[in-house]
C-alpha cells in the first residue's frame, strides 16, 4: 500500500515555532545586537564592534566569577548525586511509607527560589536563626555575612536541602524500574550488597542519573536568586556567582549582552556534551 504524502501536519508545529521564536530566538537575536553596541537607554545605540567581548574576556572579575561558579557546581554535584542515590537506596520501595517519603522528599522542590533564600537567610542568622544561633552557642565560629567560608557553607547546604530530593526521586524511579528477576539472580549468585549496587542498580540507574546530573549542573550553573537573597554575593565578592556578576555589570546593555552570550555558549556546550553522552548511552542500551 502506498503511503499518502501529506505535509499539512507541519502546520501543527507552527504554534511551537511561534512560541519559541518569541520566547527564545528573537530575544537572543536582540542580545546579539546589543552586544556589539553601546547604549544607556533611550533606544540610542552606538556601534562598538567586539569591544565588549574583548573587555569581558580580559575581565579578571568575570573569570573569578566563572571559577566560583564551576567550583560551586562541582561541590553541588559531588554532594547531591551520592546523597540522592543513598537516600533512594534506603527509601521504602512500596506501601504507605514509600508514598509518605515521596511526598516528604517533594516538599522542598515546591518552594519558590526566593522563599528558599529567605528561609535560609533567617535560619542562618546568628542572632535569631536556629542554625546560626546553635552553631555560635556550641562555639563554632559562624557568620555568613562576614566570613566567606560560612557564606559558602550556607549556600551549599541550602542548595543541598533544596535539590537533593530531585536526584533522590529520579534515582528512586530508576531503582523501581529494575525487574525483580535481577535481584533473584543476584541472590542465587550470593552477590554482596556492594556487587548488587555496582553491577545491577548503578547501571540501571545510569540513564536517569545522567538526567539528574544534567539538570543539577544546569540549575546550579545558572543559580541567582538563592545566593542573592542570602548573601547578596558577599562577603566581598566571595559568593558572587556568574549570574549575580552579570546583573552587577551596570546599566550599559552592551557588556551585559556580551557577558550573556559567553555565558550562554558555555551552557550550550556543556548541555550538548551531556545530551550526546545521554543519547549514546541510550543507543548502547538499545543494542
Amino acid at each position: 500500500m502506498n503511503k499518502t504524502v501529506n505535509q499539512k501536519a507541519w502546520f501543527l508545529v507552527l504554534p511551537v515555532i511561534v512560541l519559541v521564536a518569541f520566547s527564545a530566538v528573537i530575544p537572543l537575536m536582540t542580545v546579539v545586537n546589543y552586544s556589539v553596541q553601546d547604549t544607556f537607554g533611550n533606544n540610542q545605540f552606538f556601534w562598538a564592534g567586539l569591544e565588549w567581548f574583548d573587555i569581558m574576556l580580559h575581565s579578571e572579575r568575570m573569570w573569578n566569577a566563572l571559577g566560583r561558579q564551576l567550583f560551586f557546581s562541582c561541590i553541588i554535584l559531588l554532594i547531591e548525586v551520592p546523597l540522592g542515590i543513598f537516600i533512594a537506596l534506603n527509601m521504602p520501595k512500596s506501601g504507605f511509607w514509600s508514598s509518605f517519603c515521596l511526598v516528604l522528599m517533594s516538599l522542598p522542590l515546591l518552594i519558590p527560589w526566593n522563599v528558599v533564600g529567605t528561609i535560609w537567610q533567617v535560619f542562618a542568622r546568628v542572632d535569631i536563626g536556629l542554625l546560626g544561633y546553635t552553631l555560635s552557642a556550641i562555639g563554632i565560629e559562624y557568620n555568613y555575612t562576614q566570613e566567606a567560608f560560612s557564606a559558602w557553607a550556607t549556600i551549599v547546604a541550602m542548595d543541598v536541602w533544596h535539590w537533593t530530593s530531585l536526584v533522590a526521586l529520579l534515582a528512586f524511579a530508576g531503582l523501581k524500574s529494575i525487574p525483580d528477576a535481577y535481584y533473584q539472580a543476584a541472590k542465587i549468585d550470593q552477590a554482596s550488597r556492594w556487587a548488587i549496587f555496582r553491577y545491577i542498580e548503578l547501571p540501571k540507574m545510569m540513564g536517569v542519573l545522567m538526567i539528574a546530573i544534567l539538570l543539577r549542573f544546569m540549575d546550579s550553573f545558572m543559580i541567582y536568586t538563592e545566593p542573592f537573597v542570602v548573601t547578596g554575593g558577599g562577603p566581598g565578592n566571595s559568593t558572587t556567582m556568574l549570574s549575580i556578576d552579570l546583573v552587577n555589570q551596570g546599566f550599559n546593555l552592551g557588556p551585559k549582552a556580551a557577558f550573556s552570550i559567553m555565558y550562554y555558549l558555555v551552557i550550550l556546550l556543556i548541555s550538548y556534551v551531556f545530551y550526546t553522552v545521554m543519547t549514546n548511552m541510550d543507543k548502547k542500551e538499545g543494542k
Binding site: 536582540t30 545586537n33 553596541q37 545605540f45 574576556l57 555558549l265 549514546n280
Partner: protein, 90 residues
Amino acid sequence: MEWMAWTWPTALFFAIIAMTLTVFTILAIKFPEMSRMGVLGMETTRGDRLFITLLGSAFINLAWLGVIGAKQPFALIVCLVYALAVFRWV
C-alpha cells in the same frame, strides 16, 4: 523593530546562519542523512556536524579575540579549517 537595535553586521550574521540552515534542510530532504561514527566515538548526522561547527566556531572566535586580540577576520579562516575537519572526520 527599533528596540531590537539591528545593525548591518549582525543582520548579515543571522542571514548567513538562516541561509546555512535552509541549505542544510534542503540537503536533508534531497539527500537523506545517514549517521556515522567519527573520531569522537559518537554517531553524528550532517546536522550534528553543523551544530558542532557553529558552536566550535563561536569558541574559536572568542579564543582568538582573547588570546591574539587583533585581525579578527583571520579567525574565520581557522573556523573554515575547523569546519572542514569536522565534516570530514567527526
